[in-house]
């Protein structure tokens, strides 16, 4: 057993998994309340990555930042979260709210349209070039934990730590706060919640704000840890985040976290071992096959996901 390789694969999987988990949380929150798949969620992540890149450039760039690195990262995260939060609110207001009473296919198609709209707007505004955070210049890749087979760049630790902190914060918000209680009530029965005096529209708006802010943060974290961003990146992260949400149990917040980590680790480990396990028949190119095979297996065997509850309908 090559322990060096295994350890590095686990680190890679946990990093990607943290990002997928943040994206999955946005999917799961919106689905929980509106029963809507917000297919534009990945593109909100992409916008967050561009906002972070803009703040980075505005504050001097990676080679010569005008503020301390930790402050720079915090400002990038805050700007992206605020920008994406408001973007999410705008999407809800203009693309989904008018279709709230329409058949479920209508908002789904609207979501697709929003996705293309955001993607092409960014293409028009920023051009098609890949943009680089140059985070390898911001913090040298040698800075971090180096212990035996373990080599972890400090930015990876920041990414995993921030993702974990945000997930815990969200969990506390949903389980311990008044807003969280209103969100849970709205998710269970929107009409009953309204009759109990909950301002459902406001709860939905806040849910979109929080979910989109998390996606914005995920965008910055992706830019920081992997270095490159482009107008097209949202699709891939959206797809993996959605898979994570389904596998974890769509509608369940701990499920989204668990699903994200599971998908990230499955992806990394399949890159590392698929060739050995299939005796050279399949290569690392087929890692996505493993990820989506997991999705299919869950859909067949446990459609409610790991921590989701089966939907019961009164007949």
């Amino acid at each position: 057993m090559d322990w060096d390789k295994l350890v590095q694969l686990l680190v890679a999987g946990a990093t990607a998994g943290s990002v997928y988990a943040l994206v999955a949380l946005g999917f799961t929150m919106v689905y929980g309340i509106l029963k809507l798949l917000n297919l534009a969620h990945g593109d909100v992540l992409m916008v967050g990555a561009f906002i972070g890149w803009g703040v980075l450039g505005w504050l001097g760039g990676a080679q010569d930042p005008s503020v301390a690195v930790w402050l720079l990262v915090v400002l990038m995260l805050m700007a992206a979260m605020a920008g994406c939060g408001f973007l999410g609110v705008a999407i809800e207001r203009f693309a989904y709210r008018p279709l709230r009473r329409a058949p479920r296919i209508a908002p789904l198609i609207s979501a697709l349209g929003v996705s293309f709209f955001i993607q092409n707007s960014v293409l028009l505004l920023f051009g098609a070039d890949f943009r680089s955070y140059d985070s390898f210049d911001l913090v040298d890749v040698g800075v971090g934990v180096h212990w035996g087979p373990l080599n972890v760049w400090i930015i990876r630790l920041v990414v995993m730590g921030s993702a974990l902190a945000m997930m815990l914060g969200l969990w506390l918000l949903v389980t311990r706060s008044k807003l969280g209680k209103a969100m849970r009530a709205t998710a269970v029965d929107r009409e009953a919640a309204a009759m109990m005096g909950i301002d459902v529209d406001r709860v939905i708006v806040k849910t979109f704000f929080i979910g989109s802010a998390l996606a914005g943060a995920a965008g910055v974290l992706v830019g920081l840890v992997f270095g490159q961003i482009n107008h097209f990146m949202g699709f891939n992260y959206g797809l993996k985040g959605f898979t994570a949400a389904v596998v974890g149990g769509i509608g369940s917040i701990p499920g989204a976290m668990l699903g994200g980590l599971l998908i990230g680790l499955a992806e990394a480990l399949s890159v590392g071992y698929i060739e050995d396990l299939t005796r050279g028949r399949l290569g690392s190119a087929f890692s996505d096959l493993v990820v989506f095979l997991i999705l299919i297996v869950f859909m067949l065997v446990r459609p409610q996901g790991i921590l989701g509850k089966p939907e019961v309908k009164k007949v």
């Binding site: 590095q8 694969l9 890679a12 890749v141 840890v225 992997f226 490159q228 482009n230 890159v271 690392s284």
Partner: protein
């Protein structure tokens, strides 16, 4: 009575359909061969203007438009550019190619930018006698056996690139343990395979890995790269991906050097501490003879960054316009006439030398360039 009426109605409908088809067919067939009024002539552009490789297509079309503006000013012509966005998807490329074929003002096409676009459009253009001149499609099979008779390219093919990379990796870098990574697309798969075979034939130990064209994280693949690997050859069309790969190797404490293929050439995006990259064209920023055109382009594009994709497409456009102008000498031109004249091209190139084609549509002479990269500094080494 009622049945009779229905039958008569159906007969009339069938007759109308037959007559319409008969009338419509000749005009549809006539389109490609249509004689152009030389006052309203366009060149088509077939490349990815959106999608994951949009940076490539945008750079190319910008250079093509710059070339058209310059040519029009110098020759008093009024060429226009018709955009065809392939989105890097073969089915889309075929649809766009059909549109270009059906536009009777389009007398030549610059592109397809990517080899897969050429594969799906080559026969359409050939049947319409429409010349297509690519500034970046390097797959060997596009000209091997001359499958598309109206296809030309101003860049050399991978049959030249792969052996040059193999030779440099084995002889100059003295690498015996190599990992070759492809990005699962029509560009990189044959190229990576040719490099892998070439290195094995030269006695190197070679492992093969794959990533997706739109991947941004390679840390799992890097974990597969052994500590004793000397060089990682990355066949990619995304320069920043090669940069990330290089940094992630360092992150995991691995000393392997990244050698990017022509798609990785970009001084602003691929800037490892030490790396190598090949290119199908010399970087015109290094050519003293091209200083004025670089200045002009910078003025035209407001200093938009560019790599090695744009200038060859500029030349492809220039080849097209030169041929169309010659064909228009008598006031009218046909696509077949333009295609014949493209074959006989012999014009000076901004990349040095002249643009000429061999019998299969490949450029003469053909050479790839190898650069050593240290940060943003690119040095020609081979």
């Amino acid at each position: 009575m009622r049945k009779g009426l229905i039958a008569a109605g159906l007969a009339v409908l069938v007759a109308v359909a037959v007559v319409t088809a008969a009338v419509a067919k000749p005009s549809a067939q006539a389109t490609p061969a249509q004689v152009a009024q030389c006052t309203n002539v366009s060149i088509g552009f077939l490349g990815p203007l959106t999608g994951v490789a949009a940076f490539l297509g945008q750079e190319q079309v910008s250079w093509v438009r710059f070339g058209v503006q310059k040519y029009n000013r110098a020759n008093g012509t009024r060429f226009k550019v018709v955009n065809g966005d392939t989105q890097l998807k073969a089915p889309v490329a075929r649809t766009v190619a059909r549109r270009l074929v059906s536009d009777s003002n389009v007398m030549a096409v610059v592109g397809g930018s990517e080899s897969q676009a050429v594969r799906v459009s080559g026969n359409l253009f050939e049947n319409a006698n429409l010349a297509s001149i690519s500034g970046s499609a390097t797959a060997v099979d596009l000209t091997k056996g001359h499958p598309y008779r109206s296809f030309y390219r101003v860049v050399p093919n991978d049959a030249i690139q792969a052996p040059q990379i193999v030779n440099y990796v084995r002889r100059n870098l003295d690498a015996s343990n190599v990992v070759v990574i492809d990005s699962q697309d029509d560009y990189s798969l044959p190229l990576a395979t040719a490099i892998q075979r070439g290195l094995r034939a030269r006695g190197a130990t070679v492992a093969r890995e794959s990533v997706s064209a739109d991947d941004t994280d390679f840390s799992a693949v890097v974990a597969n790269v052994g500590n004793d690997v000397d060089v990682v050859v990355f066949a990619t069309q995304v320069a920043s991906a090669a940069n990330t790969l290089s940094n992630q190797l360092r992150e995991q404490g691995k000393d392997a050097i990244v050698f990017g293929t022509d798609g990785a050439y970009s001084p602003t995006q691929y800037k490892p501490r030490l790396g190598y990259v090949s290119s199908f064209a010399n970087d015109i920023r290094f050519l003293p003879s091209a200083r004025s055109i670089v200045r002009e382009y910078n003025r035209y594009s407001n200093n938009k960054a560019f790599g090695t994709f744009g200038p060859p497409s500029y030349m492809a456009g220039w080849v097209a316009m030169t041929a169309i102008t010659a064909a228009c000498a008598d006031g009218n031109a046909t696509r077949a006439e333009v295609t014949r004249l493209v074959r006989r091209t012999n014009i000076p190139s901004i990349l040095g030398g002249r643009v000429r084609f061999d019998g299969k549509g490949d450029p003469l002479p053909a050479k790839f360039y190898i650069f050593r990269v240290s940060g943003e500094k690119y040095t020609l080494v081979g």
